[in-house]
């Protein structure tokens, strides 16, 4: 039932609206709305019940294990939520004077400094509102750097084929063409191909490390040399920072710019698709180009630095100060971890991934790169299973839902056939991981014994498998009231 179908003409919530006003005489008739927008007319209880019931149709971290590779679905501390929702923080207008925001700015400034430390970078801007906007900011800074040097021949961005789709899409938004670099048999970027690809047209390389194949780039120092010697800059996609937090600093590896997904590594919620937050860190040479505002601390006062203070900045990426409420959550989380806690994140995310990989190998699953250590995630390929039984990665994913586990990432990265990309995160216990292994083993048995059961999954969700071809062909994107 849709909220619109619960609607009854004339039903109102007077306690949620101001008293009726006399006619708005200051607004000319021809600028006024003649029709009534299609908004539900329901009681407060109707709305509360409807949306509470909808919430119960969701999987979430608070209710289920979510081993979604490259998404870092770890526990979102409730304390961080409560602290970001303090009434004074919520009430503060973004254009209010800095004198009225020293408390919030102190938190943001300290977060900026902590991110500098964990990334090993010279400067950080907190404004990008998601990972993809962080990528845009990073690539735009690389471009601004080359342009400022009069080096306008650099028109090409190098992107490994295992990269997230946002990497090439972000580089295109910055006006670059994309050159894909293949992956070698061990899951590393193919060095020979990289050497052959660089030249005076190379603006830079966007690298995700550990890669989306779940392995650390073993030749990263060599790659750094190749790209820098060709005059390109190095972009570090921090999507998988959870794997190396406190253990390796991208700045130490010679990278020029990094974005961090706070909604992954710093445990802020995913909210069913955002808001995220994608701060960027840069090396010395990119400092003048950081997106504004950034936060400065001088003479005991915090203030926002805008384009007046940073005239070569790539500019504003949001109307105000990015997703401030998310930044406050990340700050609270970082303070609860402290330095030691940060390092433990990488330790236990890695322990959990390697344990799960070892147990699944024992259970008969094929690991995509069995010769490698897992970072914080790893890939199972179901190519063999599909050949034997006709059951594919999607079927296994859907059957896992019936067993009370969110599916791993499926069919990404695209270069491994029938893949499940599995990331357990550090916040899950051994007992949960064992239960997940048991569930996957059951699905494997079912695939052989009763493939139709698996093909038809899920069976216990609010709906069975959905027809997404129909959804795209016969677009139904908004509800229309049936004709009376």
């Amino acid at each position: 039932m849709l909220i619109f179908e619960l609607s009854r003409p004339g039903r109102k919530n007077p306690s949620q609206a101001p008293a009726p006003q006399p006619e708005a005489s200051g607004i000319p008739a021809h600028l006024r709305r003649a029709d009534k927008p299609l908004l539900p007319e329901v009681s407060e209880m109707d709305a509360v019940r409807h949306y509470t019931r909808l919430s119960q149709k969701n999987f979430s971290i608070d209710t289920h294990f979510y081993p979604l590779g490259s998404c870092t679905m770890k526990y979102n501390p409730r304390g961080a939520h409560q602290m970001a929702m303090l009434p004074q923080f919520l009430a503060r207008h973004p254009l209010a004077p800095e004198t009225t925001g020293q408390g919030v700015l102190a938190c943001l400034y300290e977060l900026q400094e902590m991110l500098k430390d964990v990334t090993g970078m010279a400067g950080v801007s907190l404004t990008p509102m998601a990972g993809a906007q962080g990528e845009f900011a990073g690539v735009a800074m690389i471009r601004a750097y080359h342009v400022a040097r009069g080096d306008t021949a650099r028109t090409e961005m190098l992107v490994p084929d295992a990269a997230h789709g946002t990497n090439p899409a972000s580089a295109v938004m910055c006006g670059y063409t994309i050159k894909e670099i293949p992956t070698d048999h061990d899951g590393n970027v193919d060095l020979a191909a990289l050497r052959a690809a660089v030249g005076p047209q190379t603006a830079g390389l966007m690298l995700t490390n550990p890669s989306t194949l779940g392995v650390f780039e073993q030749n990263i120092q060599e790659m750094q040399k190749i790209v820098h010697e060709a005059g390109g800059l190095l972009y570090y996609d921090g999507a998988n920072l959870n794997a190396i937090l406190g253990r390796v600093k991208p700045g130490d590896m010679g990278f020029d710019v990094i974005h961090v997904n706070l909604h992954k590594t710093f445990s802020t919620p995913h909210g069913g698709g955002g808001p995220g937050s994608g701060p960027v860190g840069v090396s010395e040479r990119l400092l003048p180009f950081l997106p504004v505002p950034i936060i400065a601390h001088e003479d005991g006062r915090y203030r926002l630095v805008t384009e007046q203070g940073l005239p070569q900045s790539i500019g504003h990426l949001s109307a105000f100060m990015g997703n401030t409420g998310i930044l406050l959550r990340a700050y609270a989380y970082a303070r609860m971890l402290g330095g030691e806690g940060m390092r433990r994140v990488a330790d236990f995310a890695t322990l959990n991934a390697n344990y799960l990989m070892a147990e699944l190998k024992k259970a008969g699953f094929d690991i995509a790169f069995p010769q490698r250590r897992a970072s914080h995630e790893f890939i199972v390929t179901l190519k063999g299973l599909k050949e034997q039984t006709g059951i594919n990665a999607m079927d296994v994913a859907k059957r896992l839902l019936d067993k009370g586990f969110h599916a791993p990432t499926t069919y990404f990265p695209m270069l491994v056939p029938e893949c499940l990309l599995i990331e357990p995160t550090e916040t899950e216990s051994k007992q949960t991981l064992d239960a997940f292994v048991a569930a996957l083993k059951e699905v494997l048995e079912e695939a052989h014994a009763n493939p139709e059961l698996v093909k038809g999954a899920p069976h216990t969700m609010p709906v069975r498998r959905l027809d997404d071809v129909k959804a795209a062909r016969e677009l139904d994107l908004v509800w229309k009231a049936p004709a009376a």
Partner: protein
């Protein structure tokens, strides 16, 4: 160990299962030279009580003010139920709904959200949110350029939010797209036909119309839309969703309606929160549906023919199309779209209209009362919604500082953005302000101005609607 559940026994048995002696060994593929020492800047861990106390102190340090600043972020009542439901773990801690069968709650809610936004804006289609209003404008510009095919230039009036214009510029300039500024009428504070004439016959992909504009002024949207369409341009309407409780929807502007409607969703349930998280919305006509950026939810059926919801039109998106995607956006502002859907359900048609009317009535009262003060005038003559520009003979920064000392945030100083306006203050009153609040504003303004200027009241002429821009 904060948020790590492992016991010593767990760790040992896990290491045994892996076949290694220590966690340290798991990092042996990382070149030794790259392994970092200790984190130097990171403070010691605090428990929840201690960090809770620290943040409470900082929040209290920031205090609460009686706020009359708008300028793109507006103080509205948010019903208690909005955040109590949005804060439920099932919404708050869920991922993007790729696994549709396990995400029907979020998906159905987003479908309802899309329906509400499309109807509010008078459009056929809505996406499931973008980052904020400013970046939504940039996405609309990109969309218009894709749809128009020949031109990469966009007309943007100077009375469109100045920071939005900066954001749009930062986000599109690298693709060779040019934003061309249209001057505003200094009398009316709006975009007028005279100033557009200059651009006739030029090759432009779209005209942006903000309603109400940054000055709070209402634009003649029908006339502007028809002019743009006559020039073979698309029309991008940038609208305030609360104002749409009263004002004509972009889909109804002029003869054919605007082509794309975008805006800042913050007035629908998002607290001011120093700037975010808010959300951007983007709605469009059916013909442009496949050009839309970001997530879109569609209704379909399952294997048994039962209705259900899933992400659709994914072939436009970066995870499929990569370099050829309509946008690089991935994570958007899902939870804020959630709050907006709940917020709009609690208000309903009549509630939203009442909020809009109360905003307009309060802002009108404030302007009327303020203009009774000697030397205070409203700069622009055209009608306004819930914001207006006032002028007086005293530097605005000084007035605002004096007001702040009384616990009042008196508005936004326009001097840095529009120096040509002289001492100009952009002031807003929403439904949250009482007559008493407004009296407090005007009394303080009067006191501050009279102390500054003991001489006779200013007798400057009011600028008229016909004055030259």
């Amino acid at each position: 160990m904060p948020f790590i559940p492992h016991t010593e026994e767990d760790i040992q048995s896990m290491l045994e299962a892996i076949g290694t002696a220590s966690i340290e060994n798991l990092f042996d593929e990382i070149p030794p030279a790259l392994r970092a020492g200790k984190l130097g800047q990171m403070p010691e861990a605090l428990n929840e009580m201690a960090i809770g106390r620290l943040m409470q102190e900082r929040a209290e340090q920031d205090g609460r003010y009686l706020n009359f600043i708008g300028a793109g972020a507006y103080e509205h009542h948010v019903p208690a139920a909005v955040w109590q439901i949005a804060g439920r773990g099932e919404f708050y801690s869920a991922y993007t709904p790729y696994q549709a069968e396990a995400s029907q709650g979020t998906l159905q809610l987003l479908y309802e959200f899309q329906t509400m936004m499309a109807s509010l804006t008078g459009m056929d289609v809505s996406n499931a949110s973008l980052y904020d209003g400013a970046s939504a404008l940039a996405e609309a510009v990109l969309m218009a350029v894709r749809a128009h095919k020949t031109s990469r230039r966009i007309l943007v009036p100077a009375c469109v939010h100045p920071i939005w214009r900066q954001v749009a510029e930062a986000l599109v300039k690298n693709q060779g797209i040019e934003l061309v500024t249209v001057p505003y009428c200094t009398g009316g504070g709006d975009t007028v036909a005279e100033s557009l004439k200059h651009f006739e016959g030029g090759d432009f992909a779209a005209l942006v119309i903000q309603q109400p504009n940054f000055f709070g002024v209402l634009e003649e949207v029908d006339e502007l839309t028809n002019w743009a369409h006559s020039q073979n341009m698309l029309v991008i309407g940038a609208v305030n969703p609360v104002a749409l409780g009263l004002l004509k929807a972009p889909g109804q502007w002029g003869g054919k309606g605007a082509d794309i409607a975008v805006g800042e969703g913050q007035p629908l349930g998002a607290p001011l929160s120093s700037g975010g998280p808010y959300f951007g919305f983007l709605c469009c006509k059916q013909a442009l549906a496949r050009q839309i950026p970001g997530r879109v939810v569609g209704r379909t059926v399952d294997l048994d023919g039962k209705p259900g919801f899933c992400l659709t039109l994914q072939a436009r998106e970066q995870h499929i199309r990569r370099a050829k995607a309509t946008s690089n956006i991935c994570t958007n502002q899902g939870l804020m779209a959630t709050t907006a859907a709940i917020h709009l359900s609690l208000l309903g048609q009549s509630g939203l209209e009442r909020v809009a009317s109360a905003c307009h009535a309060n802002a009108s009262l404030l302007v009327e009362q303020a203009c009774l003060i000697a030397g205070v005038e409203r700069i622009f003559s055209e009608p306004f919604f819930h914001e207006a520009v006032l002028t007086f003979d005293m530097p605005v920064a000084d007035v605002l500082r004096a007001m702040e000392a009384q616990g009042i945030l008196g508005g936004l100083d326009l001097t840095p953005y529009y120096p040509e306006l002289g001492n100009a203050l952009l002031v807003c009153a929403t439904e949250t302000k009482t007559a008493e609040d407004i009296r407090k504003f005007t009394e303080n303004l009067e006191r501050i101005l009279s102390r500054h200027n003991s001489g006779p009241a200013c007798t400057r002429l009011k600028p008229t609607a016909t004055s030259k821009w």
